[in-house]
């Protein structure tokens, strides 16, 4: 099975793409679905009584159903479309956090949260007077059970946790966190941005209260994301953005709002994004998460093994392979990640360098930035070999200047 064949960008260029954690490449099937929408079905959903608009509405709503099925949500209207994970998290901060928290309550996050699941909660904390607390990681780059149990208390009202860290690749035990948080009466928001491209998400099995993800890291176009929320919670919440489509009756001074899911989808939506996301889900389901995991396990294990052989690297990586997804952060000791990334780029190897929108985690680790290679099922062992080769080259260039 040569999956790279489905990805024109990987076919058309000689790059080794190791930045799928930032955004994945797109298969032909997704690109074609978007094109087909504009060629055959383009109209504004929910706004026209003519056939074309009805068709657009139908495709849009069918995709919602597809997503509901994909993450096993109980009700289709529990799926809300957003621009991305960031917008979905802001919706939660404003429409849930601001309205439900009060002085003395607690918000508990993990230290490995992406800024998008951190900065909005700082704002909520400042406005409501709720305390913002963090669950820290141990030397194994994982959150210990004890940390979960001591940080989430009777005062905790909201827990925000990333399923998989976009820096460390650590797979957090979200099920355990959710169970404990529920015992303490808190709601849990799971950031599945880095997990859903790689593993089956079942919101009923997790029993999370909210879950967010972006489409673009899982083969879909840029600019489409999903918020899942339990229906009873979403029903109690006020709208986030206001305008067309999210209303029922509008008077000069008052408005009543549409029921779910439209209540949270103001304005003309990113329909091509929704269509593309639907096609991405079809693609993932066609390959199957089992196969995806099998492929990735082989590549990531190989990468762990080969990178471990380079003694001039520092790896920020749990020793427990079972709890590690396809993201590997590292540094060449004494060399700045930005320089490493530039040298790798000259060898057509694309990795990310920087703080990965996780400055509090960087500060906790005592570093400014890392190099990050992230893998997806279209990568292969040759990509790992090219990474290692390019790293050797970078090290050779710097070796004689490195001051210990």
């Amino acid at each position: 099975m040569n999956l790279k064949q489905d990805f024109p960008l990987l076919q058309n260029s000689k790059i080794t793409y190791l930045d799928s954690g930032a955004t994945s490449q797109k298969p032909l099937q997704v690109i074609h679905a978007v094109q087909e929408f504009y060629e055959k079905y383009n109209a504004n959903p929910h706004r026209g009584a003519y056939t074309l608009s009805m068709e657009a509405t139908e495709i849009y709503e069918n995709t919602r159903q597809k997503i509901a099925h994909f993450i096993n949500s109980k009700h289709t209207e529990e799926i809300i479309f957003s621009k991305n994970a960031t917008e979905a998290l802001n919706l939660l901060a404003y429409s849930y956090g601001m309205e439900n928290l009060k002085n003395g309550d607690e918000i508990v996050l993990s230290i490995m949260e992406h800024h998008s699941n951190l900065v909005p909660w700082q704002k909520v904390s400042k406005v409501t007077g709720a305390n913002l607390k963090y669950m820290y990681i141990g030397s194994d780059f994982e959150i210990a059970d004890e940390e979960i149990e001591t940080k989430i208390t009777d005062q905790t009202k909201i827990v925000g946790i990333t399923h998989v860290s976009n820096v460390l690749g650590t797979i957090n035990n979200v099920k355990k966190i959710i169970k404990h948080a529920h015992k303490k009466g808190a709601v849990v928001i799971v950031d599945a941005s880095q997990s859903i491209p790689h593993m089956k998400i079942d919101v009923q099995d997790l029993d999370c209260d909210f879950l967010v993800f972006s489409g673009h890291k899982m083969l879909a176009p840029l600019g489409i994301g999903v918020l899942y929320g339990k229906r009873e919670l979403l029903n109690q919440m006020n709208p986030f953005l206001m305008g067309g489509d999210m209303i029922e009756y509008v008077y000069e001074q008052e408005t009543t709002f549409a029921p779910l899911p439209n209540k949270f989808e103001a304005g003309t939506q990113n329909v091509e994004g929704v269509i593309g996301l639907g096609a991405a889900i079809d693609y993932i389901e066609k390959i199957g998460y089992d196969t995806i995991q099998e492929i990735e396990k082989e590549i990531v294990s190989y990468a762990r093994q080969e990178l471990s052989k380079l003694d001039y690297l520092t790896l920020y990586l749990t020793p427990n392979e079972a709890n590690h997804s396809g993201v590997i952060s590292f540094n060449i000791k004494g060399v700045h990640p930005h320089d490493v990334a530039s040298i790798l780029d000259s060898q057509n190897v694309c990795i990310r360098s920087g703080n990965h929108c996780a400055q509090p985690l960087m500060r906790f680790l005592g570093i400014d930035s890392t190099c990050r290679a992230s893998f997806y099922f279209y990568n292969d062992k040759e990509d790992v070999d090219r990474l290692v080769w390019a790293l050797k080259k970078a090290y050779e260039m710097f070796k004689k200047y490195i001051t210990k």
Binding site: H336, P337, H338, D339, Q347, G354, N355, D368, Y401
Partner: protein, 149 residues
């Protein structure tokens, strides 16, 4: 790869990894922070003046080889220069990076800093090379504002 070796050459590597200007001055007339939030590069420049002349300059902070070397080489070039000369050199460096200044005669005044002339072939790194120069630009502006008071 040629561009790369052009940039990561001995001069730049030596300055980035072992700069004699990376220290605290103790006593200084102006101090200014510069940073590139995107990549986390952060430097602090200290300047000691003697009348109208830059008597000493030093920096602390962290960043990639290009930002560190560019800072160190800039300091090499500017120590002993008058404020007026410094302003001209900074201006010329910025114009060189933007490819607005290509006259060899004019570029001579940059001394070693001319080593960064091809950084525009690595657009992702232009900001790194410019960090220190924009920072000193701010200092010189501040000095000017003070003089006018």
């Amino acid at each position: 790869m040629d561009d790369l070796n052009d940039i990561y050459n001995d001069l730049i590597m030596e300055h980035s990894m072992n700069s004699c200007h990376k220290k605290k001055l103790g006593k200084c007339d102006f101090c200014q922070m510069g940073h590139n939030p995107n990549c986390g590069d952060e430097i602090s420049l200290e300047i000691k003046l003697n009348g109208n002349v830059i008597e000493n300059l030093a920096f602390t902070g962290h960043g990639c080889a290009i930002s560190q070397a560019s800072t160190s080489i800039m300091i090499d070039t500017l120590i002993g220069k008058s404020i007026e000369e410094a302003k001209e050199i900074v201006q010329t460096f910025i114009e060189m990076i933007k490819r607005e200044e290509t006259n060899e005669e004019n570029l001579k005044k940059l001394e070693d800093a001319i080593a960064f002339r091809n950084i525009c072939n690595m657009p992702a790194r232009v900001k790194c090379a410019l960090l220190a120069w924009h920072t000193i630009e701010d200092i010189l502006k501040e000095k000017e504002a003070k003089n006018e008071k």
